[in-house]
Each structure stands twice: as structure tokens, then as C-alpha cells.
């Protein structure tokens, strides 16, 4: 009873002596967000110094025997002295270097150390590429295209999907489409070109991306019932296109480059252009139409030419032309007639009605084409410096950024840059005559043409008879407006006849109402026979 007990130093309240039972400091997630790495613990560390590594613990020093254990910070000789409770803990200063260069993979046991939600995402120090946001519908199309690329599915159906915008990035992968041949036993391995079909009917597209026209293997393109206001001239590049549907849009006129699709080396067979709110001509071309008559052509099938090779599929002829709009390179219109006023008024004045030409012929030899060169003395083909600069900028991918650097005083140049960016997006403009890329066309005018498709007739009960069928039966849809753009007045409108024009590389001839695929009756050889 009286035996004196060894006096132990008083316990310090609040501080547990067992380091394993020390209460954890409440962690502040903000202080943690700077360091998401796991604490550095190695399996070889089983000494007490291990505690020093565990994050949030303070380094402790022990002096003397175990029963004198006290934090060294309190005092050196705590013997007999009642120690007061420690004040607030000093702020931790131990922080590992942000980038220690040591990667420690998680073993899945210390997930408590990782905060669930980071307060603020880490800000990148370098400027980041802004990825343009795309709509859900476009994302869907993007996924669809990706799937088609993987599976080799050639038809992309995207009807009625509320697609409002279509960017180049979505369409561009399609140009890499490769046909996946079917591999079956006893069937010869066949390598063929893909025949892509893209159906975008009944969406809400306002404009088309330029990348669409670089998809070489597109054979069917349906854009029926969209909100397209214009068709980019780049459409002439689609050499493999067989079916093109542009009906039920808001198109006022077509680019004259559309006629390139009629050339002999292209494959266009089906073309739907109506209905569209096409620009009507102020005068009707009745007198010209009567010359040919409403009835389709008679076709005389010459005996020696049995082959259907190089026969045209479509024939066109000019009916009339609007006045010419001239503009400066900065986009300022200098002529009285403007395309915009005509579009607003909904009717275009006709400046010239072409003379009928009774006889015309086509030939597979392009050098046989009559070349009309009308020289205007005062004009030059050299583009203005503003235009030259814009063309250079148009070729570069940095055109879009240019506009943002232009000061406010030069806002007209900014408008020019913005317009050029829009054109670049859609595949660019070309001069209708010399096929140079242009930014601001010096001249613009509209020509009305009649289009007829040239098709084999079955009415006569046997093959080999052809008819020229109007592509629309409606009287007001006979004259189709085509916009022409020119780089300089030397590429301006040239006097030409209203006879049937044979697309480049096709053969045949017309005299009056009769179309001859072969030699004329009573004629041995034909002048266009190669």
C-alpha cells in the first residue's frame, strides 16, 4: 500500500502516445488537390521513421526511456513537471515536391487519401486548342460515319435527324473510306472502288462543308428538303456522283460548275433540282422554246455507231443572261445591277437573249471545241493586290485567325476576311472560265439554261432510240438559273449561241429538232468522227 510507485510523467491530454491512434487531421481537399500522388511508402520501411512519411503526421523525436516519452517539442526535462496541454498544432510544413519524379502506382488500399471531387480543375498553362462544339445530331452522324468506315458499309442513312450544321471534320474521314471486299470461298478476290451513298434528306442544313466534295467515291448524295441557300461551286469536283438530289431547298441559283458533272468522264445519271425557289427571268424565253418545241427531240440513230460510249447524258443550252455585277476586290459593288437586289426582288432582268443556233455538234476531242476569245483591251488578267493577298491567305489554314487581328478602323477588311473564311469552309470559289481559285469575283452574272436528259427510249419498242427529255415537265422550271463568276473582265460573258451544248468529251450532233448519234443520213463519214 505504502509502497511507492514509480511515478510516471503525467499524460498530456489531447495527444495520444500511440502514433497509430493519433486522430487524423481533417483534411482540406483544397490542400490536397495540388498533390494527388499516393504517400511514399515502401515495403522495406518498417521502422518508426515510417510514420514520418505518412502524410499529415508530424515528425516526432523521442528522448530518454519509454516512460518518459513525450513530444520533444514540449520540453527537454518533463520530469515531475505538470505539462499543460499543447496549444493548436503547428501548421504542417512537410510537403513533398510537386513533381518528385517518382511514380507510385496505387495499390487500391489508400483511396481515402484521394479526394472524391476536385474543387477546381487544374488550369493548363499552355494555350489549348479549342475544340469546336458540335451538336448532338452531328455527333450521331460522326459516330455513324465512323461505324461505316469500320464495317465498310457504303450507305449512310441520316434522314430526318434534325441536323442543322455539318462541319468539315465530320465529313473528312469519309474520304478515307475503303471498300472491304467480301471474302468467301471459291469467289475471286475482288478489289473495287467504294460506292458511297450519303442520304442527308429532311434535315435542316443551311450550308455544306467543303470536305463533302472531296469525298471522291460518293456516288449518291441526297440533300432533299434541307435549308440550303446555295450550292458551292466545288460540287463540280464530284466525278463519281451518279445521283444528286437538291430538291426542296432554298436555292436561288446553281453554280455553273454543276454542269461539269455532265462531262463524258463523269457518271451523273439522276439529277433532281426542283422544286426550289429559283430566280425567275423577267422575260420569258418562249420564242426560243417554241423554236425547239415542247416535244422532245427526235433522235436519229446512225447505223455505224452502235456503241453508247461517249453519248451525252444531259444536254443544255443557254437561253438568256442577266446584267453583270462588277465589284472591287474588297467586295464593294461598282455596277448598277447587283445580285442581292435581284435576289431580294425575286426577279432578274434579262439583258440578252441568246440567238438560236440551228446546228451544233459535240465531239470526244476537246481540241475540237470552238474557243471563243474576246479580248477587251483595257482589262488585265492580273488580280489586284488585295485579291492576291486574299488568295494567298485563302490557301493557308490561318485565314480564320486573320480577321481577329484586324483593327476596328479597317472593318471592311474584316468583312472580307470573314467572307473568305466562309468560302474556304465550303470549298472555295473558282472562276467559271479559267478555273482559278478566287476570293472576290470581279464579275458575277446569271445565265438561264434549259437542261434535258438524254435517255434511251423504250417507246419505240426497241433499244437504241434516244430521246431528250426535259428534266421538269413544268413550264416555269424549264429555264434554270446558273451563276457565273469571273476573275477579271477577260473571263466575262462571251457571245454564244443558244444551241444545244455538248458537255466536254461527248459526241453527237443536233440539227433542228433531230439529234444524231451517228452520221447524217446520206453522209458517209461525219466531221466529228475521230
Amino acid at each position: 500500500m505504502d509502497q511507492e510507485e514509480v511515478s510516471l510523467p503525467p499524460l498530456i491530454s489531447g495527444v495520444s502516445h500511440n502514433p497509430r491512434k493519433r486522430p487524423r487531421q481533417p483534411r482540406l481537399s483544397s490542400s490536397l488537390s495540388v498533390n494527388s500522388s499516393d504517400p511514399a511508402i515502401f515495403s522495406s520501411d518498417d521502422d518508426p521513421a515510417l510514420d514520418n512519411y505518412v502524410e499529415g503526421r508530424q515528425k516526432k523525436k523521442y528522448i530518454g526511456s519509454w516512460f518518459k516519452h513525450d513530444p520533444a517539442s514540449s520540453s527537454d526535462s518533463t520530469f515531475g513537471e505538470p505539462t499543460v496541454a499543447l496549444g493548436p498544432k503547428p501548421k504542417r510544413t512537410f510537403r513533398r515536391d510537386f513533381d518528385s519524379g517518382v511514380f507510385l502506382g496505387s495499390d487500391g488500399t489508400d483511396s481515402e487519401g484521394v479526394p472524391e471531387v476536385l474543387d477546381s480543375p487544374a488550369k493548363p498553362k499552355l494555350p489549348q486548342v479549342v475544340v469546336p462544339k458540335i451538336s448532338a445530331a452531328e455527333q450521331k452522324l460522326r459516330d455513324r460515319i465512323e461505324r461505316c468506315l469500320e464495317t465498310g458499309d457504303e450507305a449512310i442513312d441520316f434522314w430526318q435527324m434534325n441536323l442543322c450544321e455539318l462541319s468539315n471534320d465530320t465529313i473528312a474521314p469519309l474520304s478515307q473510306f475503303a471498300h472491304i471486299p467480301k471474302i468467301t470461298k471459291d469467289v475471286a478476290f475482288e478489289q473495287k472502288e467504294p460506292e458511297l451513298k450519303l442520304y442527308l434528306a429532311q434535315n435542316r442544313l443551311m450550308r455544306l462543308p467543303g470536305a463533302l466534295f472531296d469525298v471522291t467515291y460518293l456516288t449518291t448524295l441526297s440533300l432533299r428538303n434541307n435549308k440550303l441557300a446555295e450550292v458551292p461551286p466545288a460540287i463540280g469536283k464530284m466525278h463519281n456522283l451518279q445521283q444528286l438530289n437538291l430538291s426542296q431547298n432554298r436555292i436561288r441559283y446553281f453554280p455553273v460548275e454543276l454542269l461539269d458533272l455532265f462531262k463524258a468522264n463523269n457518271r451523273l445519271e439522276g439529277l433532281s433540282l426542283f422544286p426550289n425557289p429559283l430566280l425567275p427571268a423577267e422575260q420569258s424565253f418562249e420564242s426560243l422554246l417554241d423554236d425547239v418545241g415542247p416535244e422532245p427531240f427526235e433522235v436519229w440513230d446512225g447505223a455505224p455507231w452502235k456503241t453508247t460510249e461517249n453519248l451525252p447524258r444531259f444536254l443544255t443550252r443557254r437561253l438568256g443572261r442577266s446584267p453583270v455585277q462588277t465589284s472591287e476586290s474588297t467586295g464593294k459593288i461598282t455596277s448598277v445591277f447587283t445580285m442581292k437586289s435581284a435576289t431580294d426582288a425575286g426577279i432578274v432582268r434579262v439583258e440578252q437573249i441568246f440567238n438560236t443556233k440551228h446546228e451544233s455538234h459535240g465531239s470526244p476531242d476537246p481540241s475540237d471545241e470552238p474557243s471563243v476569245q474576246q479580248q477587251t483591251v483595257s482589262s488585265t488578267r492580273v488580280p489586284s493586290l488585295v485579291e492576291t493577298v486574299m488568295r494567298s491567305a485563302h490557301r493557308s489554314p490561318h485565314l480564320g485567325e486573320m480577321a481577329s487581328y484586324i483593327p476596328d478602323e479597317l472593318s471592311h477588311l474584316r468583312t472580307l476576311c470573314d467572307r473568305a473564311t466562309l468560302q474556304q469552309d465550303q470549298g472555295g470559289l473558282v472562276c467559271s472560265q479559267c478555273r482559278r481559285t478566287i476570293v472576290t469575283p470581279a464579275l458575277e452574272w446569271i445565265e438561264w439554261r434549259e437542261i434535258r436528259s438524254f435517255s434511251e427510249s423504250t417507246r419505240f419498242g426497241r433499244a437504241g432510240k434516244y430521246r431528250l427529255v426535259p428534266i421538269s415537265v413544268r413550264r416555269d422550271e424549264i429555264n434554270v438559273p446558273f451563276i457565273h463568276r469571273a476573275c477579271s473582265s477577260r473571263c466575262g460573258p462571251q457571245e454564244q449561241h443558244a444551241g444545244w451544248e455538248f458537255p466536254q468529251g461527248t459526241r453527237g450532233r443536233t440539227i433542228g429538232n433531230i439529234f444524231y448519234t451517228g452520221p447524217l443520213p446520206g453522209e458517209e463519214g461525219t466531221p466529228s468522227d475521230p
Binding site: E328, V389, S392, S396, M402
Partner: protein, 104 residues
Amino acid sequence: MDVQAPSKYVTLISSDGFEFVVLREAAMVSPIVKGMLDPKSQFAEAKHARCVFQEISSIVLDKIVEYFHYWYRYRNSEDVPDMDIPVEICLELLAAADYLGLDQ
């Protein structure tokens, strides 16, 4: 000083002091330069056939002078090659071209 025939060449000076001697006829493509060098006017530029462009650097003026000769050489030809312009000076050149009225 008696009235003498205008010289065949004119001097264009950039903001950093470079002098470009250009064929007068070629420089006349710009209506602004033409107005500055009009012998009928009493401008100092016209008297000495020297134009100082305080806003145009030598790099840009060099391209403008190149364009003057490009225009002069091909003004009547049918086949005009493209003039190459580096993208980095496009913006400055565009502003300068607009200033010189080269948009016809």
C-alpha cells in the same frame, strides 16, 4: 529650277529607311501613288519623285514593289502565274494594299 520631264523611276521609302527605286509606270497602278507623284500637283513627293511611307515597313513595301512589277509584266498577258505571298505578312500587306487603293 525649270520644269523637266518626270524621271522614269521613282523612289519609295519605307518607315525603316529602305529605299526602293521603282519604274514610274509600274508604280502608277496604285491610285494613291499616282496622286502623290502627279507632276501637276505641287507635292514635295512629285517634285523629287520620292514617296515616304511612314506606316509601311520595308518587308511589306518590298512585296508591294514586287507586285508593281508583277502587274507591269503580266498586265497584257493571257497566262498570269500566281504571285506567292507568305502568310505571315498577309495581314500587313492587306492593310497596305487597301491603303494604296490596290483593289481594282
